[in-house]
Amino acid sequence: MGLKTILLVEDNPDDRDLTVRALKRHNLGEDLILARDGAEALDYLFCQGDYAHRDPSDTPQVILLDLKLPKLSGLEVLRRLRADPRSKLLPVVILTTSNEEEDRLSGYHFGANSFVRKPVDFEKFSDAVRELGVYWLVRNEPPPRQKGQAGH
């Protein structure tokens, strides 16, 4: 059971690989879980589908959520996470390309803990990922594990 788990929800393989690269560069990506779309992210979090047999007590420390996702949009994933008692308190960071006011507003409205824009410049992107990892995995104290949160 890895305590410092990051769940990265990202459909673009380029962005996914670059994020992984940036995390690894700063030794933050050991326990990285990858979800290629919103549905997979929900399956993982709620231990269903392909993830039906995983240990439900193993919840990620932080979720890095892209907004532009196939099937289920990032905002929809966020809405469902916040509607479920098991994931209601999970820290969610929206990590997205756009900086549209509308997206920021709905992101915070649906309960995102943070909104970070992915810079074009890889150096800056790498810095942003490092700051995020340090903050959410090291500096930030996660919400206490609730009873019944792990079970179905």
């Binding site: 673009n12 380029d14 962005d15 670059l18 690269r21 532009k68 997205t96 390309t97 756009s98 900086n99 549209e100 006011e101 509308e102 992915k118 810079p119 074009v120 410049d121 890889f122 150096e123 992107f125």
Partner: protein
Amino acid sequence: MNPAPLPASRSGRRNSFARRLLWLTIAVTGAALLAACAAFILYDQITYRRLMVRQLAVEAQVIAANSVSALIFGDPRSAAKTLSTLSASPDLLAAGIYDHRGRLFAFYRRGGAPLLPPSAPPMPPFGQRSWYADGDVILARRITLAGAVAGTVYLRNDMKQLTTRNRHYTEIAFIVWAASLTAAWIFSTAYRRGIAQPIVDLAHTAVFIAHDQDYGLRAQATGRGDEIDSLVEAFNAMLAAIGTRDADLAQARQTLEARVALRTAELTAANRELEAFSYSVSHDLRAPLRGIDGFGQALLEDYGAQMDPTARSYLDRIRAATQRMGVLIDNLLQLARVTRAEMRRENCDLSAMAAAVVEDLRRQDPGRQSEVEIEPGMHAWGDAGLLRIVLENFLGNAWKFTAKREWTWIAFYRANHRNPSEDVFAIRDNGAGFDPAHAGQLFAAFQRLHAATEFPGTGIGLATAQRILHRHGGRAWAEAQLGAGATFYFALPRYTPPLAASS
């Protein structure tokens, strides 16, 4: 149709036209009658007086003729007898005959009358004279015989008859006057209907229309072809014209509203498309750039050792181009955003805003020797977020173009300007300046007056600032000499108190 209560003055107007017409008739009739009666009575009195004097003169002549012999023969009894015939004349009060020496010779007085003829006769100058005394008329006449004065006859008549006559005439005149006025009243009241009623009706119709705004009503024509009929016709024609105009206006407004609704729908659709477009640009154009830059960097890091310097420089250039494109996309998005962003106007402290912007610039470029002068207390009425972008662009521009100086000098101050309706602000620098011949192109998007290699930039910043100023009802312009610094000006409508601009 059931009209709402009308103004109280609608009926029973105190100053009504019909009533005034009636009073006019009565007054004119009364005055004319009064004048006629007075003239008639006056004339009658004058005529009657003359008649009385003439009658008195005849009586005096008769008495003079009959008393000549009595005077000659000194027979007062005969004279008194002659005088006694005057008792047939009821108004004669007293009479007397004097001899040629002026002594009272004989006299008569009506029974009960206290008056006696005077002891000496008042001498008439030319044979005969009459005068009035104490409301009586007196006549004296010489009695002559063969050209010699034999004596004088004196007659005194009272004017009671005249007074009685006058009273009777006045009473009759008053009765006639009153009867005429009554008749005038009755006729006027009866005919008033015919003359004044159409005007009164017209006035009522006008009041109804003014009250109900119902231009479909029409005034009733009299059909007599007089001026009132013309008035009614003209009034109705005006009503018809107003009705037509109202209908035209209503139709024009409907057409306009429909057109506005259509245009609004088109604009809304276009705006939505534009928003979708910039959203897509924001997401989809930037993502591949990050891939190019990221994997370029990965290539350099992981395989840089196996590349020769040329290959590495190519990779560097790929990454530089990618990053420039990223900035370009961001600037374009900002330009698009300031156009459609909703404006929330408030009183903005430009001095404080500029100080914050300069602080950011210094933080990003810590090695720069700079002196930035900001006039304190500069305020403007506008959207704080958008005005900050304006200052970022102008101050950023000044910062950028002073990069090659030994020290940077920038001043932000309120420019003297004569127009009282706007505030003009200036940002002056000691930078590279520009050729004033090209000042007009400065604010067009993508127009650059310097090579990108000399001063980096996308050429969108000033266009964005200008667009924001235009949205605030302001403007921007610049003055410069090549190599001698530049001054950028921007004008904003003067701050209006929140009362007038709160909505």
